[in-house]
């Protein structure tokens, strides 16, 4: 431990992604991106303890697709591996999901361990430990890189419908 009274370095703060991404695309010659922004935020209190709740998991990871290029750990950004419709798969087995289709930090992480962006194994342990009641029978995949409108009007309602069909009490959302 260093001096407990010393300030942390100025740059040791959460990365300003909004500004850096905006600057980056402007430098590349594209227009300014408008990020989603709301003043009001919905809030629904829990109505039962987690140990009696059924938990839904929503991920942005993509199912592996043979034939559309490298999707392995550290693969370059692979737009062909994206998906454009909400999908579901069983929570009973560990699925073969990849994140080559999104902009994760390829310099400082390798995506070798899926548990860093899909906490399914840890959730199963939480069920076993009695921390949460159970998982929904399926987890859900949320398409990325859509327009705000498509996400809000098509994908989000479809994800809600699937959570309800599976009797979810609460939902855990994990971007990759």
């Amino acid at each position: 431990m260093g001096d407990p009274k010393a300030f942390a370095p100025e740059h040791d703060a959460p990365i300003p992604y909004l500004q850096r991404t905006r600057d980056y695309y402007l430098a590349l010659g594209y227009g300014a991106y408008r990020w989603a922004h709301f003043n009001d935020v919905p809030f629904t209190p829990l109505d039962k303890p987690l140990e009696k709740s059924r938990v839904a998991l929503i991920t942005t990871a993509a199912p592996y697709q043979p034939g559309v290029g490298d999707q392995g750990p550290g693969a370059k950004y692979n737009a062909a591996a994206k998906f454009y419709k909400v999908y579901s798969d069983s929570t009973d087995t560990i699925p073969d999901l990849r994140i080559s289709h999104v902009g994760y930090d390829r310099k400082h992480t390798t995506a070798e361990d899926p548990n860093t962006w899909l906490p399914l194994a840890r959730l199963h342990e939480a069920v076993k430990a009695g921390r949460i009641g159970e998982l929904t029978p399926r987890f859900y995949g949320s398409p990325t890189n859509r327009s705000h409108r498509v996400t809000m009007e098509t994908d989000a309602p479809e994800l809600l419908r699937r959570c309800r069909d599976d009797g979810a009490d609460v939902a855990l959302l994990v971007p990759s």
């Binding site: 990020w35 989603a36 629904t44 361990d113 809600l160 855990l172 959302l173 994990v174």
Partner: protein, 127 residues
């Protein structure tokens, strides 16, 4: 973009009666959008659920997210995980750092991005 997408989804699900918690690494994107409950890990993008090959880190991250889900008093609750990616924070300077790019790099990146956009356009038409 992933963080923005799931933020929009969390808002919709929450507004329709199902409590949500989001685990993520892009603090400003999620808070700018505005979500009910957010566990922030100050890790490189791609590690929303904890450190690679570190079950203890992943378990602690999930547990903290569950605590946020249980105890948030109101919307826009953000809790930052106490875990550090590493002591040296210089990795934070690298993301989209224009200072390190030459004009040739920028032209190359633009070319690559145009290809990406073309692929997405074709696929979206198919979908």
């Amino acid at each position: 973009m992933c963080h923005q997408t799931v933020s929009l989804v969390a808002r919709h699900i929450e507004a329709n009666g199902i409590p949500t918690v989001l685990m993520g690494c892009a603090k400003d994107i999620v808070e700018h959008c505005g979500v009910p409950r957010f566990l922030f890990s100050d890790f490189p993008l791609g590690n929303s659920a904890g450190r690679p090959f570190d079950v203890e880190s992943q378990g602690a991250t999930l547990e903290l997210a569950l605590r946020v889900l249980e105890t948030a008093p109101a919307g826009r609750t953000t809790v930052q995980s106490p875990q550090r990616w590493r002591d040296d924070a210089s990795w934070k300077l690298d993301f989209s750092d224009l200072g390190k790019l030459t004009p040739e790099d920028i032209a190359e990146r633009r070319k690559e991005f145009d290809v990406v956009k073309a692929v997405i356009k074709t696929k979206q038409t198919d979908a």
